[in-house]
């Protein structure tokens, strides 16, 4: 088990290094940072000077090595546009995105799993079929369209919920949370729903198909033959056995929730990393983009490690053999 963990960590580091190189090389070429940093009136000589100062005329691999070395020290440089250390900027935006992603995941999981279980158990019921059909809409409408429609309905027409931003936040040390204020929670509802809807559908459909799969297994038949109650069969045996693949996918989905937050944050002007990232893409703000990519990878890899640990918790077979 510890050796297994160490191997996974080793792999994770490898993945991160590759991501770092990819992130660096790709973003090194998007737009010209110098044009971004200065206004229209700045002379060409001045631009050349900036270019030198930024080290943009060094050899590429030197820039890349410098980038990785600095990243190891949590130093992603200074944003070209905001003129602040990227680490500070992201640090300030991270809570917003994580809270949004958390709320969206909770929304997706808390509703997706029960719905999936239900539609899996009663797979031919009229309600299940309706849920399944309706759920397809969730994966067929682009996120931005859903967001705009929700704003139109709940903010503009009904005036129930705010249309943008995060509401009031409370600072808990470095973490500014919106969970503790009324306006913060209210502001969370629409973006979290928008963001979570797609994942909800995926989770639901996944749980359903896994449930169908598990319900056909011999041990479930044997459970029935032993006269166990439906409740025990569905929740104690079937659900638990569906969890292994479900946990994997949910892990992956949390990663993509953070990526999809780019769109949701754009629509709702949610002051998170995604918004920062898309602004950075538009402004060719390389340090922010690179840091964002590194950070999402770290989060993603971290989630994968956690998923791994959860496997060990759920599945005794893995616990013994120590292999996946």
């Amino acid at each position: 088990m510890p050796t297994h963990l160490i191997r996974r960590l080793f792999e994770a580091v490898l993945v991160l290094v590759v991501v770092a190189v990819v992130a660096f090389t790709l973003f090194r070429f998007v737009g010209d940072p110098v044009n971004q940093m200065v206004g229209q009136d700045v002379s060409i000589a001045e631009r050349e000077r900036l270019r030198r100062e930024l080290g943009l005329d060094d050899a590429l691999f030197v820039q890349c090595a410098r980038f990785i070395w600095n990243a190891l020290h949590f130093d992603f440089g200074t944003s070209y546009k905001f003129r602040q250390p990227v680490t500070d900027l992201i640090g300030a935006r991270l809570p917003a995105t994580l809270e949004l992603a958390f709320a969206a995941s909770v929304f997706a999981i808390a509703i997706g799993i029960p719905l999936g279980v239900r539609t899996g158990i009663h797979r031919d019921g009229a309600l299940s079929k309706t849920i399944m059909a309706v759920s397809l809409i969730g994966v067929s409408l682009p996120t931005f369209l859903i967001g705009i429609l929700l704003i139109y309905l709940f903010a503009v027409t009904l005036h129930w919920l705010p249309s943008y931003g995060r509401g009031d936040v409370v600072n808990l040390g470095f973490w500014a949370t919106g969970f503790l204020t009324g306006s913060g929670l209210r502001a969370l509802i629409l973006p979290a729903t928008t963001l979570g809807l797609f994942q909800l559908t995926l989770v639901m459909r996944l749980v359903r198909s896994e449930m169908l799969e598990v319900l056909r297994t011999d041990y479930i038949r044997f459970c029935r033959a032993r006269g166990l109650t439906d409740r025990a069969i569905h929740f104690r045996h079937a659900l638990k056995n569906t969890l292994v693949p479900v946990v994997t996918i949910i892990g992956l989905q949390i990663g993509s929730i953070i990526a999809f937050a780019i769109i949701t944050e754009t629509v709702f002007q949610w002051p998170g990393m995604g918004l920062l990232f898309i602004q950075a893409v538009q402004n060719a703000d390389i340090p922010i983009m690179a840091a964002y990519l590194m950070l999402t990878s770290v989060i993603f890899v971290g989630i994968n490690l956690v998923v791994d640990l959860i496997y060990h918790f759920i599945d005794p077979r893995i616990r013994v053999s120590g292999r996946l």
Partner: protein
């Protein structure tokens, strides 16, 4: 390829295949669900109309000379101020929305089909190699897949887009946006195929029909493509259908984020993005119809994918 094909001629072979198909569970389950039939009809109509756009569209929206700015923002013909020339109205440039929609759907479907095709090509190829040869190939490909998974589709697409813009330069990119989108989306999707095909290949590889082929010395690539490939394509079809819907949406989202196709050659996504600006202004048709077609297309393809998955899954019968 079947031994007797050449003598019997195509007719009887296809005839027999058709009978087998007509008799199959696939067709049966198809006929049983109204929803699936409606979805199929919608998808066929939209795809057919899109492909036939140059033949059936009232105007050519790509011919800029035909646009008249004075025709801008005319509502659908049944509304007050409507114009019978423009069945569902015009956009802010005076473009006939119906024509734009048909051409836009053509682009969207084209991008999605090509992207999914690319993903299949990449994913199935790599999955086969990974599953069949294992070892270092497997490790490399699967690690690459891990890295790829670190970048969810939308991020990958943004990355590829940015890289293409940087490498090609905007000028050379011009007109190449289509292929950039194809590559962006295609790259984001290959992992799923690779993993699925690899898993199936691992299973098939150990099946005795593969062993029988190895026994007589059939070369590895011939086994991979002649024996294994046809047997792992089932799940690929299902993923491809569902991915097609996802590709349509991803293309729209990229357009929304401003890295899609240019407005002079709009896709459905671009049309929705442009129309989005008119959502609150009362000119609802500019966003409504492209949105409707986009969502309808994605929805019906998804419904078909769903049905296909259930119908092709022998365990669910």
């Amino acid at each position: 390829m079947s031994l007797r094909d050449d003598r019997e001629g195509f007719g009887s072979v296809w005839n027999r295949r058709w009978r087998a198909f007509a008799d199959s569970h696939l067709l049966y389950s198809f006929g049983r669900s109204k929803l699936v039939m409606v979805a199929a009809v919608f998808a066929v109509v939209v795809i057919g109309a899109a492909l036939a756009a140059p033949l059936i569209a009232p105007t050519n929206p790509l011919d800029l000379a035909s646009l008249d700015l004075m025709d801008a923002r005319i509502p659908p013909m049944w509304m007050e101020g409507g114009d019978p020339r423009f069945v569902i109205g015009t956009d802010d440039q005076g473009r006939d929305l119906l024509s734009a929609l048909l051409y836009g759907a053509q682009v969207s479907i084209g991008v999605s089909l090509c992207a999914v095709g690319l993903a299949i090509l990449l994913g199935v190829g790599l999955g086969l190699v990974s599953g069949y040869f294992g070892g270092i190939f497997d490790t490399l490909i699967m690690r690459a897949a891990d890295v790829q998974l670190t970048f969810p589709a939308i991020l990958t697409a943004l990355l590829v887009n940015g890289a293409a813009r940087a490498v090609l330069g905007d000028q050379r990119l011009q007109g190449g946006e289509f292929w950039v989108l194809v590559v962006s989306i295609g790259l984001a999707f290959w992992v799923q195929y690779a993993r699925t095909v690899r898993a199936s290949t691992l299973q098939e590889r150990h099946k005795d029909y593969v062993q029988a082929a190895r026994l007589i010395g059939v070369p590895a690539w011939k086994i991979m493509f002649g024996h294994v490939l046809p047997n792992v394509l089932g799940p690929v079809t299902v993923i491809a259908t569902i991915n097609l819907a996802l590709a349509i949406i991803t293309e729209a989202t990229l357009s929304f984020l401003g890295v899609g196709l240019p407005p002079t050659h709009p896709s459905l996504g671009t049309l929705v993005r442009i129309g989005n600006d008119f959502l609150m202004s009362g000119e609802w048709w500019i966003v409504f119809f492209p949105g409707l077609v986009l969502a309808g297309l994605a929805l019906s393809v998804n419904i078909l994918g769903d049905w296909l998955r259930d119908a092709l899954n022998p365990k669910l019968r």
